[in-house]
Subunit: 420 residues, 2 copies
């Protein structure tokens, strides 16, 4: 087979380790120069392909590529552009194929979550329908940990570690203050439909009374009276109460707390108001002094405290994606398979995109304690290895030094611009 | 002089390194067993003395004491109980002296900010008035960096490092997303009356276009039109805009952007709501998609990313406090004096509490750029060494291991309980 170029793009919300996957792709491709020519990266994700804005990664030094492993967020830019169905928007898919043809792209590596797995599958199908040879590989990435068929998702272990450490640290803070001041601390974390991130905070607790005292999951209908009673019990018992709440916490009728009427003090329409809503309830019912934090992007970009396990897995799925492409695979995704031994081990597996796309994996009920406010021992066994190990980025003058890329675009070859 | 016991208490909002000061006090006192008997620590700060709840630190192992250096928040508990003037509340001061007498306490180490410096001074005065020999030493601690006569305050360097790193990391995140999604990110940080913490975020920027693009200081009157114009200019120029806003950001008339009715025990308004207020303005005026984070306790408890310089200084002021007491000093505070050489150096100085108490040091105007939205090169020179160096706590199973103290109380010797 003649040498063909590859296209790599980052998709959706970025993570602390998605660039480690990029590093895995680029370094592995560089080992196979006989088969893979240039790796062109989409500037700002798949829209970079639509606009024919392709970053020539061959101009980046080996050192710059290696530094991607230590760099959070999306080094080439990401996007939230979702390609709709082939019927609805065939023009976009055809444009992609045109761009791929123009740049002799034979390998398509799409690094994202559930939506991008679906896009990747569609592109694979269309290329085959149009008779254009393309191997489309999806490289998993999502802090939400909601992809099926993989034990866990690269990106999740690091946010889990961030949330568990932050819970332990802020928990120590409120424990210091609670006698005469703050009694309740609420940390609002990401996870719109799945409680994996909130659940991981449970790792901070090692013995009775340790924070977090209450975890709120999207999977468990929020019961205000039960919640307020539990807060009171914690304050009576431990002097304070630490709550970790998923942004997706909702009532039995499906309504998000963040979209409820009580949220009006901070009137905004995006999610991210669970903590002040809960604080308001607690204030009204119990009058406790509270503090709350909204970690938002901090939690998913915190490369400084990334999990080494997560980093290694993120790199490995990138590298495996390239190996799979070279082995002739198409419409597949590398997965992480957990070993069955007592000591944690993992290896790379493979899943067909047909089974991955648009399936969302939420927390199994058996991972959530019977009262709905915590995690079980089985959940702890699941979470614990994913946050293992530290891997500090290099520091210069007290700050982490992140990759600095040239990001030079290759000249356009298509005449007409494309309107997105 | 016969051997006398010491009393140590933590006061006010805790920090990532206040326990390093405790470690400095305890380890130094242990070196002088001929002069200092037991160090008794106030359970939950000064209220522990009022209630005669005194933790016997002599029961803690050397290893547990050493681990304090790696442990955030207040290991013995802190409080926001402010002793009022001697005239208003002489009973509390007299009670303290009674407790000190009952436990043969000759050294009083009070580890806090401006309010506790004032308390420490009053106790020193009263003990002298009552003819009770007591050496009262104030050990500086405040993330707010607002104490006078010291180059900087232990606790500040670590929160500065946290905020600078978080700004760089979240800034990389929004830069990845801004083409098709989030264009503005706002990080709300602590600093009620002084913009030191917000200002330190400016260290994240190394070249034109780096985040933060806008810093809002309590020292600069907020001008909505000017702010919104600057946000727009950043988005046009860089594609995105990262704002770091002090919780104390206020209008020219003194009104806080996040005015709240709640007040803490010191009578300070409890703030937290600048970020959503700014986000609302931006949304209305420009319609940009935004995200915001409220770091709250996370920023001041983040021992995992503490500044080594800060840790060393926090330890040193604790150790120096004990040395000063042994040298016969009273009503003084160890300070940090910056060397004048090009390479950063520091040494311990000494300030009389008369000159420290109730003086608040805000950001000098020359540290803030002319447009009021950033920091000057002189400010960078000031901030930069304070965040230098890392000093990871030990990790066990992916999480930092913090000190675990016995915190056993000594038997009470006074008959009557004291109502606070």
């Amino acid at each position: 087979m003649s040498r063909r170029n590859a296209f790599y793009a980052q998709s959706g919300g970025v993570t602390a380790v998605i660039n480690a996957s990029a590093c895995g792709v680029l370094e592995t491709a560089r080992k196979h120069r006989d088969r893979i020519g240039k790796v062109l990266a989409g500037r700002n994700g798949i829209v970079g392909a639509l606009r024919e804005e392709l970053i020539d990664t061959s101009l980046e030094s080996n050192a710059a590529v290696a530094a991607l492993r230590n760099t959070p967020a999306g080094a080439f830019g990401s996007c939230r552009h979702k390609l709709r169905s082939l019927e609805e928007n065939r023009a976009e898919y055809e444009r992609l194929i045109d761009v791929f043809k123009a740049h002799n792209i034979g390998y398509f590596f799409y690094n994202g979550g559930g939506d991008s797995a679906d896009t990747c599958l569609k592109i694979s199908k269309l290329s085959s329908e149009l008779g254009y040879p393309l191997q489309a590989i999806h490289i998993p990435k999502t802090i939400d940990n909601d992809l099926p068929l993989t034990d866990n998702c690269p990106g999740f272990g690091s946010v889990a570690k961030y949330v568990a450490i932050s819970t332990r640290e802020a928990g120590a803070d409120v424990a210091s203050m609670c006698d005469s001041s703050t009694k309740v601390f609420i940390l609002e974390v990401m996870g719109r439909h799945a409680g994996w991130i909130a659940g991981a905070a449970g790792l901070a607790a090692e013995k009775e009374g340790d924070p977090p005292h209450i975890i709120l999951f999207p999977e468990i209908a929020f019961d205000e009276a039960k919640f307020l009673a539990r807060v009171k019990r914690c304050v009576s018992r431990y002097g304070h109460c630490v709550v970790v709440a998923s942004e997706g916490t909702r009532y039995a009728n499906g309504e998000f707390l963040a979209q409820s009427e009580r949220r009006d003090a901070f009137g905004h329409t995006q999610l991210g108001g669970v903590a002040p809503t809960l604080a308001g309830m607690i204030q009204t019912e119990h009058g406790y002094k509270y503090h709350w934090a909204l970690a938002d992007y901090l939690q998913r970009s915190a490369r400084h405290i990334a999990s080494r396990t997560d980093l290694e897995q993120a790199y490995a799925v990138g590298a495996a994606g390239v190996e799979m492409a070279l082995a002739g695979k198409n419409a597949v995704m590398p997965t992480i398979i957990r070993g069955t031994g007592k000591r944690y081990s993992w290896r790379i597996g493979e899943a067909p995109l047909e089974s991955v796309a648009n399936v969302e994996k939420t927390m199994p009920r058996r991972y959530i304690s019977r009262d709905g406010f915590g995690i079980t021992a089985e959940a702890k066994d699941y979470f614990a290895p994913l946050i293992m190990g530290e891997d500090s980025p290099p520091y210069v003058r007290g700050l982490p030094r992140y990759a600095n890329l040239k990001k030079q675009l290759v000249p356009k070859r298509l005449k007409k611009p494309f309107k997105i």
